[in-house]
Amino acid sequence: MIGPEEGVMQSRAQAMAAIFELLTDQPLIVCNGFPSREACKLRDRDQNFYMIGSMGATAGIGLGLALAQPEKTVVVFDGDGNVLMSLGTLATIGALQPKNLIHVVFDNEVYGTTGNQPTYSRMVGLDKVARAAGYMNVERVWEKEDIVYEFKAMLADSGPSFLLIKVNEQLEEADRIALAPQELTKRFKQSVS
């Protein structure tokens, strides 16, 4: 597959903003590092849960919530480094088939929060892994129009869905999460249960 030139690839924050436009009250789990800080800056909402540690646990948390609340669509904002750390969770999701889980992966092919060390996602297509694991809908996109089109379709269709968004390495300037972790737990739990 051929994407746009690297110079015109979107930043993760731009791609996130496109998805935030489509969210209403869906619970959202955001992986640790800059993705959580960027999401908090772009659109802080009670239904956002920001991880600050526990790298690799993003999809597992989303899966547990999706199983507990089958009538709600649960969205996960993940990164390539996080997904690679817990590839087994793709198998768990593929096996359990939660219809209400949308797994969005912002793939910048680096560990961006720690200084852009390369990940293996350049060589290993995470969308191919997700498809092999049994996700119902799997798409790889680069451009905003395609993000919007595919994410809308995933909101309407039965999952589990996997949206791999190729983004550049640019970080959005964003502060650390101001809310204390236990306050985030209270706020998030109240908003979803």
Binding site: I29, G53, T58, I61, L63, G64, T89, P181, S193
Partner: protein, 165 residues
């Protein structure tokens, strides 16, 4: 020796309604019963199981995670950097492999150091006995509700009837 269905009923009676984990022979009977009741969701790693339990807790469930004590090593980072700092509780039903050094070599170090490890990371724990099951479960529920952190119930070989492999 406790029957698996009595033990599971005891857990359900104090509110536990979401069960996940990774198997161990000591836990085999419990997992068989949970599976029969269709309330067990298998995980592939113990840290994944703890993460799923956290998500289920957000969604209103009262979660329990079953694991061999070797799995505590796999779950350590999630317990420390998710559950303990976010105050997300779960019950850890941990089999005590390597108890008193009577087990296969791979279990001996964890068997000897597990309670020290749990003390170090400040996860409250208690060892289940057949005679004190009711008190053990009450202590579990109370600690879970009051502290909102993971609480471990340790299961030695032979405490709950298991299945033959």
């Amino acid at each position: 020796m406790l029957e698996a269905d009595d033990f599971v009923k005891g857990l359900q009676d104090i509110g536990f309604d979401f069960f996940t984990g990774v198997p161990d022979t000591i836990l085999g009977g419990i997992i068989a019963h949970l599976t029969e009741e269709r309330i067990y969701t298998p995980a592939v790693r113990e840290d994944e199981a703890v993460a799923m339990a956290a998500g289920a807790y957000f969604g209103g469930k009262v979660p329990a995670v079953l694991m061999q004590n070797s799995g505590l090593g796999n779950a350590l980072n999630v317990l420390e950097s998710l559950n303990l700092i976010y105050q997300i509780p779960c019950l850890l039903l941990v089999s005590w492999r390597g108890f008193e050094g009577k087990d296969a070599p791979e279990h001996l170090v964890m068997g000897e150091t597990m309670t020290t490890l749990l003390d170090t990371i400040k996860i409250p724990h208690r060892t289940l006995t057949a005679e004190t099951m009711t008190e053990d479960l009450q202590w579990t529920a109370k600690t879970f509700m009051e502290q909102r952190i993971p609480v471990a119930l340790l299961l030695k070989k032979g405490i709950v009837k298991t299945v033959q492999p």
